[in-house]
Symmetry: C2
C-alpha cells in the first residue's frame, strides 16, 4: 500500500478513536466537552499519532490495539495548541481555518479544555490494556509524559529569550522542545511498548530530533512564502525565527540537512521503515 | 505520636520531596522553573499528600517510599490553583498571602507553569519505582489521573451554571468535582497501591466524598465570618455558595452531617484510621 493511502486511512482511524475517547457533548459539563471535541476533532495533520503508528509498524507490531495511545498523543498536541493560542500567549483567534478554542468558547473554558485534554491523555496512557505488559506500558507512558514536559519547557524558553535576544543555538533548543519532543514521545513510546533494543531507540530518537527541526524550519520558511495579500504583509514582523536569524539560504540548507539526517537515522531499519521515511519526504514536498 | 505532630513532620517531608522533584531554578528555562517552585513550595496545607500518606498508614503500609506520589498529588493541586487564579478564571492576584503565580511571573509563564506541573506529576506517577508492582502502580496512577480530570470537569461546571442559576444539587456536584475528586485520588490511589479490598476502597471513597463536601461547605461558611474591615464588605457578592443557596443554619448542619459521614465511613478500620480521622476533626476545628 502506498504511504499516502495508508496515512489517509490511518487518519480516519485516529479521528474515530478520538471521538470515542473524548467525553460526549452532553450532560452538565457539556460546554467543556464541546470545547474539547471542537479543538481536537475534524482537522489537523495527525502527525504525532501517525508517527507513533508508523514506528510500531517499523518494529513489527500491529498498531491497532494501541490506537488509544495514538489518540492520547494527539490530545497532548491539541491541548498545547489551545493554550498556545490564548491571548496571554500567541493571541491567535484562528486555528485550522476556524476560530481558535478560546475565540469560540471563551478563555476560561479554553484553559480548562486544555487541562482536561492533558489529564485525559495521561489517564489513557495508564489505563490497563489487555495486550500490554505493565512494566513496558509504564516505561512508555513515562517517556511520553517526560517529553510532554519538555514541550512545555521549550514553549517557556520561547517566551523568555536570553538577554540581548535569542541566537540560532537558542532557537534550535526551543524547537527541540516545542516540536521535536512530542515527535520523540511518539516514536520512543512505540519503541518502549515494542521492547526495542538500545540501538533502535537511539536511531528513533535521532530521527525524531532531525524531523522536528526540519518541520519547524520549513514552517518558518513557508511563513515568508505566503503572498502579502493573504497576510496583510505582517507575517514576519519581530518573530525570532530561523529565517530571521540565519537568512533564507542558510534556513533552506539547514532544513535539507535535517531531512537528510532523519532519513539517515533510519538506515538500520531497511524496508520496515518505509512509512517512517515518508515523513521527511512530506516535509520536502511542503517546501516545493 | 499525636496526629498534629505526625502531620507537622510529614509536612516537612513533603516540602523536601517537592523541592527535590521540581526542576532547579537554573538553566535556560529558569523562569518557568522559578514559577513552578514559587507556586508549589513554602505554603499550603498539604492536605492531599497528607491524606494519601494517612491512607497508606491506615492500610498498614509505610508511606515513605511513596513520597514522590504524595508530592505529585500536591503538584496537581497547585497547578489547578495557578490556572484557577488566572484573570480569565477567578482573577485572584493573591494566593497564600503573596502575589499569585501570574501576578508574579505574568500570565504566559503561569499558564505554562500549570501545564508543566501537571505533566511532571503525571510523569512521576508512571516512573518505575523499586517497591512498586507495575500493575498496581498503573491502576493507582489511572485512578489519580481520572480524578484529576473530574476536578477539571467540576471547575468547568462552576463556570457554566445551568440556565436559571445553580441549585444545591448543582453545587454539591461542583464540590464533588473540584474538591472531593482529588481527596478521592489521594485515598484511592493509596488503596490501589496497597492492594486494598473492595470494601476498604468503598469506605475510603465514601470518606473522601464526605470530607470534600465538609471542607468546601466550611470554606463557604468561613467566607461569611471574615470581619467586614478585612474584606471591604465585598466577600460574598454574587457567589453561588452553600450559604447563599441554603442559608447559614442549613450550611452548618450539612457541614456537620458531612463530617459525621466521613468519620462513619472509617468505622471498619478501627485504630489504624486514627490519622485519617484527624482530617474531619480539623475541619470542625476550623469552624469553631
Amino acid at each position: 500500500m502506498k504511504p499516502e493511502t495508508y496515512l489517509h486511512d490511518l487518519g480516519g482511524e485516529i479521528e474515530a478513536e478520538l471521538s470515542r475517547l473524548l467525553p460526549p457533548a452532553a450532560g452538565p459539563d457539556r460546554m467543556l466537552a464541546e470545547a474539547m471535541r471542537y479543538a481536537t476533532l475534524g482537522g489537523g495533520k495527525r502527525l504525532r499519532p501517525a508517527l507513533f503508528c508508523a514506528a510500531l509498524t517499523a518494529l513489527g507490531c500491529d498498531y491497532r490495539p494501541w490506537l488509544p495511545w495514538a489518540a492520547a498523543l494527539e490530545m497532548i498536541h491539541c491541548y498545547s495548541l489551545i493554550h498556545d493560542d490564548l491571548p496571554a500567549m500567541d493571541d491567535d483567534a484562528w486555528r485550522r481555518g476556524r476560530p481558535s478554542c478560546h475565540a469560540a468558547y471563551g478563555e476560561a473554558i479554553a484553559i480548562l479544555a486544555g487541562d482536561a485534554l492533558l489529564s485525559l491523555a495521561a489517564g489513557i496512557l495508564t489505563r490497563p490494556l489487555p495486550q500490554a505488559e505493565p512494566h513496558k506500558q509504564l516505561a512508555a507512558a513515562a517517556e511520553i509524559l517526560a517529553d510532554a514536559l519538555q514541550m512545555v519547557r521549550g514553549q517557556a524558553e520561547e517566551f523568555a529569550p536570553p538577554a540581548g535576544g535569542g541566537d540560532l543555538a537558542w532557537l534550535e533548543r526551543v524547537y527541540a522542545g516545542k516540536t521535536a519532543a512530542l515527535f520523540r514521545a511518539a516514536v520512543l513510546g512505540a519503541a518502549l511498548l515494542a521492547g526495542a533494543g538500545q540501538e533502535q531507540k537511539q536511531a528513533l530518537a535521532d530521527y525524531a530530533a532531525a524531523l522536528g527541526l526540519a518541520f519547524q524550519i520549513t514552517d518558518d520558511i513557508l511563513d515568508y512564502c505566503i503572498p502579502a495579500e493573504e497576510t496583510g504583509g505582517a507575517v514576519t514582523g519581530d518573530k525570532l525565527d530561523y529565517v530571521a536569524l540565519a537568512g533564507m539560504s542558510a534556513a533552506e540548507a539547514a532544513a535539507g540537512d535535517a531531512v537528510a539526517a532523519a532519513e539517515q537515522a533510519l538506515s538500520g531499519f531497511g524496508g520496515a521503515a518505509s512509512l517512517l521515511l515518508h515523513f521527511p519526504r512530506m516535509i520536502l514536498q511542503r517546501r516545493s
